[in-house]
Symmetry: C2
Subunit: 266 residues, 2 copies
């Protein structure tokens, strides 16, 4: 496979960066081709703004990102840094995002990579047709056929992210990323590779984690992705975009994150 790995950590000697290095090394050993983007090293511009669209005239026009983004993407008139990332994505069969969980999400620099690189016409706003009135997304889209995986270092222990854990279930916490950032533009999303309790990481745990990561990477091509429901395959009503009532059994309709409320009627 051709694999693009995007790294978001400011410290070359961090645990996150060392897992990134292990990933590059192991994937090459396995015979994959690897490209990388080290966001901090290249001082990636994290903020999407008018400068992203060189043909846009700030003095005269009102910036509407969706339309400027679409125009600039279609005409290949985005900035060089963004075009390079889009070319890597086009090249890749698989995308790995390697980062520390900061405030229950990806670091700002990586969020800004998504905002700037997943242009309208690429990351969203594609594939409208009479049969797909809301476009090709959630399992379809520009990245259909490619795989993606989050590889995350997390300060707290795993129990804090259990179904009953104080931080909330890790599946739910990562849902905006796995479902919203990766499945939305068409990636098949693999289960994330998660390393918990990263404070005071011993040499022994580093060795264990490294071994676990190397094992995991052997299965990237064949592993079954998270079974998210595609938008346009029948489970959702294509008028309302709501899940059809018969798609889940009534006893499965639950509280989800509302377990963390004092009053469950909220």
């Amino acid at each position: 496979m051709k694999v693009l790995i995007v790294l978001a950590h400011p410290e070359p000697k961090s645990l996150t960066t060392s897992l990134f290095n292990v990933t590059v090394d192991e994937l090459k050993k396995l015979g994959h081709e690897v490209k990388t983007t080290d966001l901090y090293a290249i001082k990636w511009k994290a903020t999407i703004d008018a400068d992203d669209f060189p043909e846009f005239d700030q003095e005269k026009e009102r910036l509407v990102i969706t339309s400027e983004s679409r125009k600039a993407y279609n005409e290949r008139k985005l900035t060089k840094d963004v075009l390079e990332e889009q070319e890597k994505l086009e090249w890749a069969d698989m995308l790995i995002l390697q980062f520390p969980l900061w405030w229950f999400s990806m670091p700002a620099i990586l969020k800004g990579w998504v905002e700037r690189v997943f242009s309208s016409g690429l990351g969203y706003g594609v594939g409208y047709s009479p049969k797909t009135p809301h476009g090709s997304r959630y399992g379809e889209g520009a990245f259909k056929g490619k795989r993606a995986m989050l590889s995350i270092t997390i300060g707290a222990p795993a129990t804090n992210y259990n179904k009953m854990g104080v931080n909330g279930d890790i599946f739910d916490i990562l849902y905006p990323l796995n479902h919203g950032v990766l499945f939305y533009p068409g990636f098949d999303v693999l289960e994330p590779f998660l390393v918990y309790r990263t404070h005071r990481f011993t040499e022994e745990r580093l060795q264990e984690t490294t071994n676990e990561l190397r094992e995991r990477l052997k299965n990237l091509e064949t592993e079954k992705p998270i079974p998210f429901r595609p938008q346009n395959a029948g489970d959702y009503d294509l008028q309302t975009l709501e899940l059809k009532p018969d798609a889940i059994s009534p006893d499965k309709k639950g509280l989800g994150l509302r377990v963390h409320l004092k009053e469950q009627s909220y």
Copy 2:
């Protein structure tokens, strides 16, 4: 009240910015004191890195953000832009974050505001004691007694964010922000102010939305916050940080976001 409003939108003529302006105007009319931070206007540095800690020696040391952040915060040796935001937060009784929902979360520039301003010793890592072995957080912490609210513009219609909506339930989608970013450091979190279906926003809808927002702002002081469970008040086991089994009735243990999976055993 003293209210700090943080705005994250690059376009002064956007709907988001006009709602921000309405908020400032209405709060002043109601007799509140208002301070603002317009992140795009001040070209806020979105990325936390070694430059955030002027006393840190990049050549010699390994950057561990938690410890550098704590040291620099305690000694008030953070950068000027961060210190100014921290002073505004200290001053404020209430924080409002005004932004468009991009990729199911806040814009990178605002995420970077959180990462840089919520230092260790302020936003996290506070209040350890024998009675609070995991610190003062989730309902306690430096911002206890202050209120906070998200004010968000959202492209898609509300039905897409219903319990069965294709994007996922908006309560769950915003949980990493409401619970993880705001409740964690101690804010009482008010229900978000949400404006859906922002594309092709008519003059009539702008008027309606503005009126709705002005009405809502009248109740900021008295409104009941989202009833998140505090960490240290008995609902969570203070060994494991898991919700105690008797805190919710068994019939309420549900699927949550897993409704969006094809196989519910996942």
